[in-house]
Each structure stands twice: as C-alpha cells, then as structure tokens.
C-alpha cells in the first residue's frame, strides 16, 4: 500500500514536469547558481523569451570552476561551432585572461558578443569615518600609504584589488604600498569594514546599497563615467576629483569561436534587441544594474582594449612578470 502511494507520487511528479529537452538556446553561467553570471543568464534568458527572440525556453546551465576558466576551456574545446550557446562573462573573466590564468587560452579564443548592463566599482568607508570625500581619503593615504587597509571580495590581483591599485596609481600613491586583504566575497569584506577591522571597502555598487540606505556606510567614490542611477546617485565619480579612473563591471556574453559570421551577427542582433527593450530596462533595474550597452565589433574591440590595459596594469604593479 505504502509502495503504491510512493510510486504513484513519483509518477505524478515525473509526468507533471515540463519537458525542456527542446533544442533551444543554452546560456552557460561559469559559476554556481545564485552568483552574478547565473543571474545574468537567467534574467537575459527570461527577457529573450518574453520578446520571443529565442526558440523556446533558454536553458541556463552552471559550469563552475576556475573563476570561469572551466567553462571557457570547455566552450573552446568542445563546443567551438555550436551556434546555440551563449556564455556569461564579465571583466572578471577578462582580467583572468589577461593574467593568463586559463593556461594557454587567450581572449582571442572566443568571440565577444555584447554587454547589456554593468555595475561600477565603488570605494566605501564607515559612516563615522573621518573622511568625507575621496580627496580627504587620498590625502590621508598619501601621507602614510600603509596606514589604511582595504578589504575586498576578490582574491589578490582580482577586480577589487585592481580597482584600488588603479586609483592609487593615478593619485600618485605607490601601489606596492597599498595594503589589501582579500575576503570570501563582498559580503564578508563589507562586514570587515563594519566591524572596524579595515578602513576601506572596495566593491560594487549593488553590494553596498543596502548598508548605505541604512546609514552604516559612506560611499566616497564611484568608478564610473557618470553618476549612478538609484540610491548611489549622490556619490561623486572619480573624474570629479580629477582622476581618470573607471571600472566597468559589465555583464555580457561571449560565443564560441568557430560559428559562422552570420551566426555571430545573429547573436549581435539579438543582444541589440534585448539591450534596447523595455523588458530589459526593467529587469536591469530590479537587478540593480546600471545602463551599459555595447554589442558586436565595438564590444569586441572594447574587450581587447581591456585585456591590454589589465596586462599593463598588472605588470606595472608587479602582479605578473
């Protein structure tokens, strides 16, 4: 009797499950569920469906490992001519490519399709810290570069570290003296700031919004070309302090290298439609992403330029030899 109930429950569960075995598009998120890439894939996938741009549901698969390396390697090796797959990417991927962390693979091993949203780097301090503006902070830093410690969610030589190094470099502080302590993700790094263990937090806008609204953190600068939308609209940009530093954490995609030119342009067209749509604008706001839109060759050139910049910076600072 019990077996019968269990068996029929099982059959019911199987029967009611919608079949997703259609040959639709696949979006690969090079990280586990819940992360930025995963969210990008799912959100964009949903918009694609809403706009009827994709044949059926867009499947998101997670291929975590090596900070995007495993997915990269696998796309190049096994799916180099598959026209139905998109892989989520961001400057984290590009930075690692620049630092040659993916073995022999380079940014030329895939085709960069486009980016539809971005976050910008920010530097935050405790709400009761003595510095009110970026200039105050930089002045204190210049007078004693080793007196301040920065926390960030990425590893040494990762995005959060690079942001600070870049800024310091342009502001005339010796980057080798900057003290950066990596934590396991932005959340923990921010907690370290709240607990008073570090003085500065380097991260992304969305990470700090909650704390800023609660009045526990001050964001001193955003590394964006213009001021941000949303709760951080009152934060000055680095340019306003005379420092030409931006850090765009774009959210975009690359596609396999050996697809035909026509198939590539099709992706570019699709991403273009998504980027301009109202559905995406709304999704972008819900996900607290800033407007950033670049597709096709323009985007490809942008990525290549980023790789060159990252390599130059990394070498300058001594992170790579």
């Amino acid at each position: 009797m019990k077996t019968a109930v269990a068996a029929s429950a099982l059959v019911a569960m199987i029967a009611c499950e919608p079949s997703e075995v259609e040959r639709g598009w696949e979006c690969i998120a090079p990280a586990n569920a819940g992360g930025g890439w995963d969210l990008t894939c799912r959100t964009v996938g949903r918009v694609l469906r809403e706009l009827s741009l994709s044949p059926g549901l867009v499947r998101t698969s997670n291929v975590p490992g090596a900070g995007g390396g495993v997915a990269f390697a696998r796309t190049v090796a096994r799916r180099s001519d598959d026209p139905n797959v998109l892989v989520a990417a961001s400057p984290a991927t590009v930075l690692r490519l620049a630092q040659r962390q993916f073995g022999d693979l380079t940014e030329n091993d895939v085709r960069w399709a486009g980016a539809v949203g971005a976050e910008y780097g920010v530097l935050a301090v405790a709400a009761d810290a003595p510095w009110q503006t970026l200039d105050d902070l930089l002045a204190a830093w210049r007078s004693d570069p080793t007196s301040l410690v920065v926390s960030g969610g990425s590893a040494v030589a990762g995005q959060d570290h690079m942001k600070v190094l870049l800024l310091a470099n342009r502001a005339g502080i010796d980057p080798k003296q900057i003290r950066y302590v990596p934590f396991d993700g932005g959340g923990e790094a921010m907690t370290a700031l709240l607990g008073g263990f570090v003085q500065v937090f380097s991260g992304e806008g969305s990470e700090v919004e909650g704390q800023v609204e609660a009045g526990r953190l001050k964001v001193l600068v955003t590394l964006s070309p213009e001021r941000l939308e949303g709760p951080l609209a009152g934060v000055p940009t680095a340019a306003e302090s005379g420092l030409d530093v931006t850090w765009v954490t774009w959210r975009g995609f690359y596609v396999p290298p050996d697809i035909s030119e026509e198939e590539y342009q099709e992706w570019v067209r699709v991403l273009d439609r998504v980027g301009r749509s109202e559905a995406w604008a709304e999704a972008r706001r819900t996900n607290r992403l800033q407007p950033f839109f670049m597709v096709g060759d323009e985007f490809s050139d942008f990525v290549h330029a980023q790789v060159r910049d990252f390599q130059a910076m990394s070498r300058e600072i001594g992170l790579i030899r």
Partner: protein
C-alpha cells in the same frame, strides 16, 4: 513584546493555504533530491531554483518553497548518510560515524528517527533564537574579525580528539591529509596555484562532495566487495523500527546543547554547519564521558550533529537577512535567489518588509514540523530499502552517486578523482586511519589559513593580534580546556576505579 506580535502575524502568513502547500511540497521534493547520494543541499537548491522562479508566486511564497527545499534536502542527506554511509555534505560526515554504526548494528530505524527529531528540536530552538535575537546577534557577529575566527578554528580543531577513534597520531595524519587537500588550488592571498599540477579543474580546489563521496562511498563499495568476497553477509534488521521513549529521553539535553551550539556557530558567516556538527559531537562525547559509546553507535552521536546542523541553518539566515551577508555556500545560493526575486536583504529588511521576515520565520517552523510529520512514518519504508540484495543496492547507489556528480560537474575529471579517493579511503580504513578528520582538515584548513593570514596582514606581522580581544581570548581558553579535558578525565578515571577494590579489601 513587539516581536511576538510580529511572529503571530507571521504565522498568519505562513498558514495560508498556498504557503502551506508550498512548504509541504518544498520539504517533500527537498528530501527526495537530498537523498540522492552526490546531491547535497547546495546542489538541490541550485537545481530547483529555476522551478521556483518559473512558478511565479509572490516572493514570500517562493522563499517559503526554497526554505522548505533546504530543510528537506538536509534531512534527505541524513537519510543517505545513515543508511548508506554516503554523506553528501561535510556536516553529514559526523552523523555518519554513529549513524551508520547504528545501521550496521541493525538499528537504522532509531537512528533515522533520532535524526528527524533532533533536527526538529534543533530547528525549533534556533527559530526562536532567530526571532528573539536576530539584530543583536548580527551586531555581535560583526565583531568577529579574522583573529577571532582563527581562535574559533583552533577551538574547533581541538575537537579532533573526539574523532581519533584510538590513535591520535593516525588522526593527526588524517587531518594532515585533509589540510593538504585544502591547500590544493589557487591561493587567494597571493594568487598562485598550489598543487594543481597544471590542471584547470583543480584551480578551485578539491570539491568536498567529490572528496566525501570518494572517501566514504566509493571506499565503502570496495570494503563491501571485500566483505562479500569473504562471505560476510549484510546485517539483519534487528530491533524495533521506531525509537524507544527511553532512548529518546536520553537524547533530550543532547539535542538542546546541539541546537544551541549549532545556532551560535551558524550565525558566524563562514563558520557554518560543518564546524557546528563537529563541535556538537565533540561536546556531547566529552559530556557523556565514560558512559558514552561514541563511534560505535551511540544515539547521541546522531542527535548532536543533526540538531546542530539544522540549528546552524537558521543561524546562517541571520547574517543573510539582517546584513545581506551570506554565511555559507547554501545561503549564498539563497541570496542569489532572493536577489532574483527582487528582494534585497540588508539591515532595512526587518523594518521595511517585516512580513517577509516574520512570515519566513514562521514558515520555517511550519516546514520543520512538516519534515517531522512527513518523515517519521516513512522511516520504516526507508529502512526496508536496506533489505534490497547487495548486488542491486550497492551498484545502484554507486551509479547514482557517479551520475549525480557528473550531472552537476559536467566532466569526467571529478569521477576519476572520486575513484582515486575511494582507493585512498579503502587503504586508510584498512590501516585504521580515521576518515572523519580528513573532512575536518579539509573544511577547517582554508578557514584557519585564510583567517590567520588575514589577521597577520591586518596587524602587519604582529602576532599579538591573535590574543587581543576578549572574544579571542575566551576561545583560546575554551580550546585549551577542550584539549586538556580528555587528558584530565583519563587521569582521573583509572585512579577512581582502582580505589574501590582497595577499599573493599581493607574492610
């Protein structure tokens, strides 16, 4: 009693028909998926998130479903751990020790029942803790810096002796192995790869599902092969299927202690269920003293870690909901789900969306209760699964584990690693090297190392920082006491026993 009133409102939300249904469904599906060896709670939630999004219910309800899945998968994990010795998470490794021992002794039923009840008790205590102390604890958790975490890890490390099962030297070697496994991968403090042998798959380090399944499940396959070859038959199902009232009563305080430990440890981001389980087990073993048969099937060895790791789940929700900081792998996934649902956890969540918070808290209680109601009757059913002949059961479970790992990882590399670990695990068992310390090393290693290095980096090389704050000092003292206790007890007992015969002889 503002909180209490909110809680009552929360129950009002939680007991709405839709939410009740979702909680039930979540718990059921979660248990089923969590039972599959190779799919632990993190993967279960990750796999089922798209389903949650697709259903299109309001955020509170979606969250209730997710939390139900979380609880369910934790328990499902316990089922496969106790019955088959296939732990799907690092914290389940602790349950496996006595849990599987009980199964081998024919007492799988009471083990499963104890697990369910302990989980419920641990969960209940911690929900009240969550409700009453959330903001306070969040503030307290902030004061834990790298030095304090390091001290906590040292304290957890002192729990090692409870898992030594005889030879401390061997336990240390096992721990060393675990610590080494922890170093494999890209070092976050210096960005250089360690022991990766050029393989890109190892840049992230050893996945502990692969390690755990390999060391425990695959080695079990080999061990059972040896048993079959030697003609040793499977254990018969003796004893009652349900737990006796007396046995249950004996675990009462165990569950309370486990729940408290689990909750407190769970609040600290990064510490998590594993450390909670190890600490709870170790504490119980010390409290029980000579009367315990830990390692051979003491039911308290099941109750303690189960209560602790369920409690830590709720503990981990505190930093998540009040600060927006995910405290563990699973909460990180939950955070992603929350963001996808348009909810921003943070200090203002309590004030701006009290419905969400209290509705969630109430439904966690409801989910917890459902877990118990659903699973206790099924214990008999699960236990009967063990009577399937070995030549079907073991290859079936092995295939399931392999397929699960492959489906989630997508490459054969992990499978090869698993097999390798299986051989290593078998050899270790043969030469009496305990397996649990490997997991302890694997989990503690990164935490200890990272926090020590962070603390040193922050202090600029000053070792004194490790002993600076009251929290750190307390933890160090606890660690010393914890290490000294078994030695002290050992010194006391033989003298005590020796006195009795002498007195009798004299009279």
């Amino acid at each position: 009693m503002d909180s209490l009133r909110h809680l009552v409102d929360g129950f009002g939300i939680a007991l709405q028909p839709l939410n009740v249904l979702l909680a039930l469904a979540g718990v059921g599906i979660g248990t089923f998926v969590g039972m599959l060896p190779g799919i632990g709670p993190i993967n279960a939630i990750a796999i089922l998130i798209p389903v949650t999004f697709a259903i299109g219910v309001p955020p509170e309800s979606a969250l209730i479903l997710l939390v139900g899945i979380y609880y369910g998968s934790q328990y499902g994990n316990s089922i496969s751990t106790i019955l088959l010795n296939v732990p799907g998470t690092a914290s389940a490794v602790v349950t496996a020790i006595d849990g599987h021992a009980m199964t081998r002794a024919g007492r799988a039923g009471p083990a499963l029942a104890a697990s369910a009840i302990a989980s419920f008790v641990g969960g209940t205590f911690s929900i009240f803790g969550l409700v009453l102390f959330a903001p306070v604890l969040a503030e307290w958790a902030i004061r834990f810096g790298p030095a304090e975490y390091f001290a906590l890890m040292v304290f957890a490390f002192s729990a090692l002796s409870s898992f030594a099962s005889g030879s401390v030297v061997r336990a240390l070697a096992s721990t060393g192995f675990g610590l080494w496994l922890a170093t494999v991968g890209l070092d976050p403090n210096s960005a250089i790869p360690r022991y990766t042998f050029g393989r890109i798959e190892l840049l992230d380090g050893m996945d502990f599902v692969v390690v755990t399944i390999g060391l425990f499940a695959v080695s079990e396959v080999l061990q059972l092969l040896e048993d079959t070859g030697a003609g040793r038959s499977a254990t018969a199902l003796t004893g009652k299927v349900m737990i006796s009232a007396k046995e249950l009563a004996s675990t009462g305080w165990t569950m309370v202690r486990g729940g408290v430990i689990g909750f407190i440890v769970g609040v600290l981001p990064g510490a998590g269920g594993t450390i909670a389980s190890f600490l709870a087990y170790s504490t119980e073993e010390r409290v029980a003293g000579a009367s315990g048969r830990f390692g051979e099937g003491d039911i308290r060895g099941v109750a303690a870690p189960e209560a602790a790791n369920n409690a830590s789940v709720n503990g981990a929700l505190i930093p998540l909901l009040t600060l927006g900081v995910p405290g563990s792998g699973t909460t990180a996934v939950l955070l992603g789900a929350l963001l996808g649902l348009g909810i921003t956890p943070g200090p203002l969540l309590l004030e701006e969306q009290p419905d969400l918070f209290w509705g969630l808290a109430a439904s966690m209680y409801v989910g917890n209760a459902f877990l118990l109601l659903l699973n206790l009757p099924l214990v008999g059913f699960f236990v009967r699964a063990l009577t399937i002949p070995r030549w079907i059961l073991i290859p079936g479970v092995a295939a399931l584990a392999f397929v699960a790992v492959y489906a989630v990882a997508g490459s054969s590399f992990d499978l090869v690693l698993m097999t390798l670990f299986g051989v290593v695990g078998y050899v270790m068992r043969k030469f009496s090297f305990p397996l649990a310390p490997v997991v302890l090393g694997l989990v503690l290693g990164p935490l200890m190392e990272k926090n020590l290095r962070r603390a040193m980096a922050l202090s600029g090389g000053d070792w004194g920082v490790l002993f600076d704050s009251p929290i750190a000092i307390t933890l160090w003292l606890l660690a010393i006491a914890s290490l000294a206790a078994p030695l002290a007890l050992a010194k006391l007992s033989p003298r005590h026993d020796a006195e009795l015969p002498t007195t009798r002889e004299e009279t």
